[in-house]
Amino acid sequence: MFSALRISCLALLGAFILAVWYSLSTSIDTGLDQRYRQELRSLQVSDTSLNNDLLAARAGLVNHYDDLVRRIATLRQESRQVSKPPAFISGAGRAEIREGVRAYERVLSQEEELIESFKFDHAVLRNSLRFFPGQALALVDRISAHAEGQELAARVSSFYSDVLHYYLFSETSLIEKVESQRVALTTPAYPWLAPDEAKAIDLLTRHARVIMRRKPQVDRSISRLLDLPSAELVRKLSELYARHYDSAERSASRAYLLTWLLALASVLVVAAWIILRLRRSARDLSRASAELEQALASLGIEKEKHKELAELKSRFVSMTSHEFRTPLSVVLSSAELLQEYGGRWPEDKRQTHLLRVQNAAKYMKQMLDEVLLIGRVEAGKLEAHPQPVDLTEFCSDLVDTLRLQFKEHRVVYSADGELSSLLIDQQLIMHILDNLLSNAFKYSGPETTIYFDVTRDAGDIVFSVHDEGIGISEQDQERLFDTFHRGDNVGDAPGTGLGLAVVKRSVDVLQGSISVESTLGEGSTFVVRVPAPSADGQGLRDSA
């Protein structure tokens, strides 16, 4: 998921950069736009000026051609400029504009050609016009001087006025008349004319012909020029540009929008990526800190355990040094006495001392067993191994054994309910009952009664041991099951301080419970409740 995110990030970035590029390349350069519009405007102005020049030419106000020549050159230059529309116009638009410019240039070439013929016709026409009136009037004067010249003079003069009339008013009806007059004038029918006069008539008719021919040509050139759609083409060009400018603007703003959207998307994706990363690292951090805390906590527990262990050790050492000293000194003294006097002592006295050694050793062994047991419990190695047990028999055996040991006490033992076949860990029950019962014996005076009840309550077995002994102070009850803890009121009674600890651990292993009720000087009651399914059921089969 992480790498997919990264790839899409990169893709977006790439798209964004392309969009920026696209948007830059489509973006409207207002400087270029202004320049191009200016170029279009000057083309339009020049084109209009050309038309004004032509109108002036038609009105006969043109006496040199530099203006026309420069105008055309300017138009060529300007149309060349206009054929390069700004780059932000789309390719198709530029092509269309260029096509428009080409159409305009074609018209411009036509104009140029027409202007060329106009210039020449106009020049020749003007020359003849300059020459014709003076020549005609002078001729009329000279011919009238001849006696027979009146008729010819009148014809020349009417010819003259008709030609000028035609020139000034373009009256086409005069064309034929002038032509026939001209033909008549050139036919040599006047022998009285001087040779130079005849030549002059000939020249006059030639110039008249020039006027009659060139005048309509000049007019035609000018009106064809004025009819050419150059102004319209320039206007169309402006419109074309305006249209393509609009669409360029639209696509530029689209590109702009696209760029912004992509930029936004990029920012969002990058932000999402960052947030995800942050959250991930926050989670990692909290996990790590939890682990750390745990580690710290477990370190604390370890420490606590360590402390306990150290305490345990020191208590063990002091206890053993104290507890083992008594039996050891018994063993030592009996062994010394036996060595010193054994040969001389009667048999029974020797036996007594040997017994004392034996008892002391037993005591020490029991203590060691208990310590080892506690050790196993602490290490979590004590496990329940339930087996079918006949509890009635087991308990009565136990009671019998204790009776032999503590002969001064009375024991009332009662068993109630179906106890003959239960699934239970015999060893653990043994630890529990042995300790509870021997404590009861140990901490109660002679001639007191110990009550030991075993009852069945639902799936549980309830053992109750009650004595009439020294009792346990409330203070001591709180730490009753701690290892090596012994009540303040135990006096010389031998004990390891491990017995009840062993009981408690065993009950725990059996998942049972233990409770105590006690009053100092009056006695104590321990009640142990442990689950014990009947061995006839499932449990028996399991263990088989």
Partner: protein, 348 residues
Amino acid sequence: MGVGRWLVLACALVACRFSDRDRPQEEVAPIYRPSPSFATVDNPFEPLPQNMAGGPATELGRKLYADTIMSVDGSLTCFSCHDMRKGGTDGLPKASVASRQNGQINTGTIFNLAFNFRFNWNGQFVTLLDHVNGPLTGKNIMGMSWSELLRRVKSSDEYQRLFAKVYPDGVTIENIRHAVTAFQLSLVTPNAPFDRYLRGQTQALDAQQHEGYHLFKSLGCVSCHQGINVGGNLFAKIGVMGEYFADRQREGRGPLTEADYGRFLVTHNLLHRYVFRVPSLRNVACTAPYFHDGSLESLEEVVVAMGRYQLGRELNDAEVLALVAFLRSLTGEHEGRPLCSPDEQGHS
């Protein structure tokens, strides 16, 4: 994670976009616009501008003009046929050089080209830039090819250096063309007596020239020879009022040749037969012989011919002399001195 590379790419793309702007093209043939308009209804002329100094390209063009590398066999320079002391022409009826066959046509001047609207007698070229092709590749002229010229100019260290100084892209065909054109455009001959007269010095023309100027206008020469260059801005037929070519042949000045067809050779329009660019009459006294065919030696003959064939008149001697005197007032200055002394040329 590659973002750097993306950024570099982006920058490159953007840079590309900004670098492909069109380079501004230097305008070689600026359209000359006179500041006060001198031309009026009765005065269709303008004086030449007094200051048309060229730039560094001009000097380069002058050097090319004077260099034999421009001709295929290394025998000619442009100045061979366009001698500055002969009014920018070769002084021959038709260009002909020892190594060339006889020329087809009279050599045109290289002065005041900036004010002509077309180039060559028949107006074949619209711009002077294009015109460079004509003499350079013309079989009877330089007989060169552009690629060969480019190779030659490129192989010269001196040209490499000079071009690099003027043009950022060094030696190219376009730049050679540009330099030659720049030089040609700089050849303007201001301060002719007639120009001084136009600027208000009435005594710049003597009485005969005044008379000639008056005739020039009243006879109608001005219909064709007008404007700033006293011609050079329209096409006209030679022989409007007479059979010029028939008469020429009859007078033994030569039969009709291909070059006589004039503008027809360019447009193939029958109406353009015998049509030529009306020549500029500036420095006309220095550029004999005259006409496209170089068939007339003296200005007097030319004026008579003009009167006869263009105006349909027989001019008398006084008129001719006055007109010729006026035409001499059109001689301008080059490098501070008259292009030719008043009585050096143009006489029969």
